[in-house]
Amino acid sequence: MPEYQIVVCGSIVPDPLQTLEPISGPAGPALKNEMMLPAWLDPWAGHALFEAANLASKNPGSKVWLVALGPKAKLQQVMMTLAQKVPFELVALDGPAGGFTDASETAAALAEAIQAIPGLDRSRMLVFGGWESASRGTGTTMQIVGEILGITDQFQGVDEIKIEASGALRILERIEGGRHQVSLCDAPPALLGWATGNLPEPRNNPQVGMANMRTIMPALQKAKPTKVGADGLTFSSVAVPKQARDTKIVKDLPADQIAAEIVEWITNK
């Protein structure tokens, strides 16, 4: 049985249900009330973490790290929920997690933190992350992490990983038209940017939480202050689009007539 060392990169984003508004500050754009909004682990990074834990549990001897760059106080809070989900060891970096930070700077910080994890063995290493974040939304961070670590077997939009009898990794990536591309990667190291995957969100397990806490609190305490920003970028504007249309409301029209209107509309080029 292969014993994987799975490093998951993921940070926090505002709970997607919140109303978001940009403001411009001295250091460029930022989210209004960013520190007050409830936060959660970035959804696709979350799937990556759950998939990592699943893979680790099926391959005894494997281990999962979560490398997270975010404001320490917020990270601590999110960890209290996340820690209950699956077992992992936290590597925390204390710095901004907002969407306006440049991917290359975040990637450099993450790669440095990964390189500093003691005892990592490239021949067993899988680097996981979210395909795209719900903040920056570029899908560019993980590739750079991979490049810095020298991993050129990279997969994005991943929905599934299976281990073949040969030890090769069978990976499904999302491609155009709702299809999946199937690839075989001989062996680790590999980098996978996850989409939704196929696992349901794990239940809150207080025992897992307790076990994780043994490493989470110390990791938070020694979280390294990390400066990342958007060097070289100048924003001329960041705005929530106005999208008010004049909606014509059609009530009390019989289904026949509505259907006729719709058919006319969709067949009319």
Binding site: M35, P38, Q76, Q77, M80, Q84, N205, P206, Q207, M217
Partner: protein
């Protein structure tokens, strides 16, 4: 038929039937994370660890480790609670003598206080004759009495209401901040998303708690991915689950409450958090209280946070006898009052929330401690019903308990009823919380007889420090609930009420909007900014969530009997439209809309045959609810 309530669910799948139920041991387990637990854990943490981080008090269950303290909060995250808040912050400042309010988002020192008497600008408010006379006089004397925008500013704020030197806070931001401080010390773990299902009651005491089961169907039966809730055994269980906490209720049932005590009085508080318009020049720390409108029984509050944000809302008390009293609709009418609207017009709704308050105060005090358990916070009767303040009081009861607990730990004394009595209860008796609670104790009795005797009674109790009060006998909530026909007598004919009810049942919605409009309340001019439909408030402002795999936490105990209930007040008052007329008009529950305000716990028109003090709805521990940390 029908008089056989279903078993409390948690028992159905607990204990020996489920050998796999995981178990864990801790030294102290705490239920709920509100201000009470905040005060408790802040104080305890400082005693468990030395300033250099080394262990000051060793764990009894994990030798060599510091004391193991776990706190479980049901909401999906810390800081999802709802409150006003303006507070004198006496206890909070004692805990943080160096406190700079700028450290806590949304906090501001109290800058000014005012009380406004609101006249009725629409003519639909049900005012007693005397009050109507007074209104006429006030309008006539308008210029002299400084009447502006249909409101009169009271010339002075009685001492007992003053919050000088206090703070305007956001409950969510304050509790988040406290949690960060506590967890930063490493001395306690506070777990959100972890509803406590029940206390483990053994040998006339409490031996710990059980978390709710996951992977169950709505009725609590195991289903996909069943995971029995963990049992956490601990020498001390601290119950801080607030006014409607299921663990507090369980203990009340198991151990009884002191003779003569009751929790008959309650209120629903509902609030908006609003971005004020650019034109608004209210200073942070401005505190405004209102009375008189939309109904004389409904009090309003308006507190200004930094950065042009305000918390504003109303309290709908149990002695407001309308069976069609949806706070949401009233809150909108209140906000539209010219004296309020003038300040907020052009602003934007940011967040919304609701929660009930236990308004029997000290008279609702349960057994504060017993073998292996202690109770703190609003559920322990700490809230001051004269001043409607509970945050600092709850905090302080937590501080007092922690001091007592540290003393017992240092002396290596066990958490027996006697030891907790002397280390905690006796301390609490000597505190300002208890003293002020006694003054307030009978302050609201007058309201049982009407709004005017109530106001007089409150003033009397406040000004004489509790020596004099207006008599009145608080009744169990169900005894107060009138039928719609009674309430609307002379205003809406019974036939018409029946027709309205029938129509709303068919649509699966409550009848209150139609009833209120029929009784003269204007329609709400929705603008998508401040005035949005109740449904949209659930989505835009409050962000209600209901994670899958948990049992429904609202349970109708005698559903078949509900057919004969004519007020159906559970439907009419539900803060989230989560209780709605289902099949045959019987109340049904939709968890995805429930904001966990707890109103349905008190708000039933029929006595529970097994326990006439209670209604026919069980309010269990549930996950989910509002996702807002600003309320």
């Amino acid at each position: 038929m029908g008089h056989s309530p279903r078993n409390a669910r948690n028992h159905a799948v607990s204990g020996s039937e489920n050998p796999e139920r995981p178990q864990m041991e801790a030294d102290i387990v705490c239920v709920g994370f509100g201000p009470a637990s905040g005060g408790f854990l802040t104080t305890l943490a400082r005693g468990i660890l030395n300033p250099d981080g080394s262990t000051a008090i060793e764990s009894g269950v994990a030798p060599g480790m510091p004391l193991q303290v776990m706190c479980y909060e049901r909401a999906d995250d810390l800081g999802f609670g709802v409150s006003g808040v303006v507070t004198r912050a006496r206890g909070i400042r004692e805990s943080f003598p160096e406190l700079d309010s700028a450290e806590i988002p949304m906090a501001a020192p109290v800058a000014s206080e005012k009380i406004l008497y609101l006249l009725d600008p629409v003519g639909a408010s049900r005012r007693p004759a005397l009050m109507r006379l007074a209104d006429v006089a006030i309008r006539a004397l308008g210029p002299v009495l400084r009447v502006k925008d249909d409101a009169m500013e009271l010339p002075w704020t009685p001492d007992f209401l003053e919050k000088h030197g206090g703070l305007v806070l956001s409950m969510g931001q304050f509790t988040q901040w406290v949690a960060q401080q506590v967890m930063g010390t490493g001395a306690a773990q506070i777990w959100p998303g972890s509803p406590v299902g029940e206390a483990i009651i053994e040998d006339d005491g409490v031996a710990g708690i059980r978390l709710v089961d996951q992977g169950v169907a709505k009725d609590g039966k195991p289903s996909d991915g069943f995971m029995p809730g963990m049992e956490v055994r601990a020498p001390l269980t601290v119950v801080a689950d607030g006014p409607v906490g299921p663990i507090g209720q369980q203990l009340d049932r198991a151990f009884g409450i002191p003779e003569g005590h009751h929790t008959h009085d309650w209120a629903l508080g509902m609030k908006f958090v609003v971005d004020l318009p650019e034109t608004c020049d209210l200073e942070p720390g401005t505190v405004l209280h209102t009375l008189g409108y939309p109904e004389p029984e409904i009090f309003g509050f308006f507190y200004v946070h930094p950065n042009r944000v305000a918390s504003m809302g109303i309290f709908v008390p149990s002695w407001f006898d309308s069976p069609a009293r949806t706070a949401y609709r009233y809150l909108q009418h209140w906000m539209l009052h010219p004296a309020i609207w003038r300040q907020v017009k052009g602003g934007h709704l940011r967040s919304w929330g609701a929660k009930t308050l236990q308004e029997s105060g000290r008279r609702g005090e349960p057994r504060l401690a017993g073998n292996g358990f202690a109770r703190i916070g609003e559920g322990s009767g700490s809230t001051n019903v004269l001043t409607n303040s509970g945050v600092d009081e709850a905090w302080t009861t937590g501080v007092i308990l922690a001091e007592g607990v540290l003393e017992l730990l240092k002396n290596k004394q066990p958490f027996t009823a006697e030891n907790l009595e002397s280390a905690y209860v006796a301390r609490r008796r000597g505190s300002w919380v208890d003293k002020d609670g006694r003054i307030a104790e009978r302050g609201r009795d007058g309201f049982q007889r009407g709004i005017i005797p109530g106001m007089i009674g409150m003033m009397l109790a406040g000004l004489t420090k509790g020596l004099v009060a207006m008599p009145g006998k608080p009744m169990p909530p169900h005894q107060r609930v009138k039928t719609l026909e009674e309430y609307y007598r002379g205003r809406i004919a019974p036939d018409e009420i029946r027709a309205i009810r029938k129509e709303s049942d068919a649509k699966g919605i409550s009848a209150h909007a139609a009833l209120m409009e029929r009784a003269g309340w204007p329609q709400i001019p929705f603008d998508g900014e401040l005035l949005v439909s109740h449904q949209d408030a659930l989505l835009i402002g409050g962000k209600v969530q209901a994670p899958a795999g948990y049992a429904d936490h609202v349970e109708f105990l005698y559903p078949s009997d509900c057919g004969t209930c004519d007020s159906k007040i559970c439907i009419e008052m539900c803060s989230g439209q989560a209780i709605y007329p289902g099949e045959n008009g019987l109340p049904a529950f939709d968890r995805e809309k429930c904001v966990h305000c707890g109103a349905c716990l008190w708000n039933c028109a029929s006595a529970n045959p097994d326990d006439p003090e209670r209604g026919r709805i069980n309010f269990h521990a549930g996950a989910g609810g509002l996702h807002s940390a600003e309320n």
